[in-house]
């Protein structure tokens, strides 16, 4: 299958493999599956593995190949990451209307794509958290004294504030890009605000350490660490309303699309990598006006792959690929 510059629309009924196609391209470029990927579905019935191969033009030709087995995926060989993919999926609406955890995950994903070394920083924090939680539980079981937790407080602060610092930078950049788009789309003012459970004084080690120590009692009761980036919240406000609770389904979908577009923009700005936008079913549920807005935004990109169940007769200059019975899956 060949894609052209500009907007490519992959058209087909549900179950024709549109999502699989985008997931395969994502996997090929990112070297990891997207959040909701189902390996079983990518492998043909009766086969043990699936192979995805692609050739990309980033000034020079870049060939990529990925082998997918039922256990996972692996790259055939080490490659450079000159091109990056950002994938929008209808499920992304949960990042707006779901619990804080879904927004933290998306923020972590964006930070990983945008900031060098974030993955390591986040992983170390997770390790500290697991250790500290276990320390708390052993104190709760009466096996250790309170001093056993104390050493982990400093690490919770050190690694936690590092995660928060990186996230704040990502939020700042995402906020700038998203509010630009919101303005162009006439949606009013969009604002991202990160609230940390470590408190406003997270930059002040002494104050924050006191706060962490002050939580110990409650933490031993609950058996879990109660403050740190793993419990922080990212609030998205659109035109003065909390997008999670006070926006319509349509607005929430728009915000999720804005998030992905901003993520792509931020990656391009930070890493200089070419970014391929993969938009799975991004136009459904939107009214005519908003469809036009989204499409106009996508035209600003060098290359976009959009999936759709209808063939979008109202837009011109699209390269259409029809997924029939024989193609895809």
């Amino acid at each position: 299958m060949e894609m052209r510059p500009g907007i490519n629309v992959v058209i087909g009924d549900n179950g024709r493999g549109k999502t699989n196609l985008l997931e395969a391209v994502y996997l090929l470029l990112q070297g990891r599956p997207n959040r909701t990927a189902d390996f079983e579905e990518l492998i043909m019935h009766g086969q043990n593995e699936a192979v995805v191969e692609g050739s990309f033009d980033a000034g020079r030709e870049i060939k990529k190949r990925m082998v997918i087995t039922r256990e996972g995926s692996h790259r055939a060989k080490r490659e450079t990451r000159e091109i990056q993919a950002v994938l929008f999926q209808p499920d992304d609406i949960w990042m707006v209307k779901g619990p804080p955890e879904t927004r933290r995950k998306c923020l972590d994903e964006a930070s990983t794509d945008v900031k060098r070394g974030y993955r390591e920083v986040a992983r170390e924090y997770q390790r500290v958290l697991r250790q500290r939680n276990e320390a708390i539980r052993s104190v709760r079981r009466g096996e250790r004294d309170r001093g056993y937790i104390k050493g982990w407080n400093k690490l919770l602060y050190r690694h936690g504030s590092e995660v928060i610092g990186e996230r704040l930078e990502t939020v700042k950049e995402m906020n700038r890009e998203m509010s630009d788009i919101a303005e162009r789309w006439g949606q009013g003012r969009l604002e991202l605000k990160y609230y940390t459970t470590m408190g406003e004084d997270v930059g002040d080690e002494k104050k924050t350490m006191e706060k962490i120590a002050g939580m110990e009692e409650a933490e031993i009761r609950r058996g879990v660490s109660l403050i740190g980036p793993h419990r922080d919240e990212l609030v998205i406000r659109l035109a003065g309303r909390n997008a999670r609770r006070e926006c319509s389904q349509g607005e929430q979908k728009l915000v999720a699309i804005m998030w992905r577009l901003a993520q792509a923009k931020t990656i391009a700005g930070n890493t200089g990598r070419k970014t391929l936008l993969l938009m799975d079913d991004c136009l459904s549920e939107l009214d005519e006006e908003n469809r036009a807005r989204v499409m106009a935004e996508l035209r600003r990109w060098k290359q976009v792959v959009v999936t759709s169940t209808d063939d979008l007769p109202e837009f011109d200059h699209l390269y259409k690929v029809f997924l029939g019975q024989g193609e895809g899956r």
Partner: protein, 198 residues
Amino acid sequence: MLYTPPIARLVEELSKLPGVGQKTAQRLAFHLLKIPGEEARSLADAIIEARERVTFCSRCFNFAQGELCDYCMDSRRDPTLVCVVERPQDIVAVERTGEFRGLYHVLGGAISPIDGIGPEELKIRELLERVRKDGVREIIVATNPRVEGEATAIYLADLLKPLGVRATRIASGLPVGGDLEYADEVTLGRALKGRLDL
């Protein structure tokens, strides 16, 4: 694949070694069957001798051949300067730098609640005893730069400060999440020089 019992037993024993999988164990077993008999016997003897003759130093818990290890017996070394490491093999890494002229203290691991290892499971009480008895004035904490090593360093610093001992941590240059054992000499040497107060 099925082997005759003696080979199967050898493969099974070898596969228990760290980093040795089934395949490597088989390869090693076949190699051992090919070499001359006295070479195989010499290897077996070396294992048994090491097991029987190597003990732990009663002062620093490094490997030793008697009461004290080679470092603790070396009178040219400064007994008031102690480098704390997690495992005996970490000493080798520090020694390779040629930058350190003090003694060691092997903790036997790092604090890790997930693995059920707390201060009581490590040779921390023994370290404090040394501080009181041997007049130690500076302790360099060279635990691995993983979070467990960091937690151990913080725990030690809290204990050592009230005793009036200077506690430092080897700082920059070591890869985060890495192993001391695999750090190269230059980085570790630089890290030893640039140690920070804990």
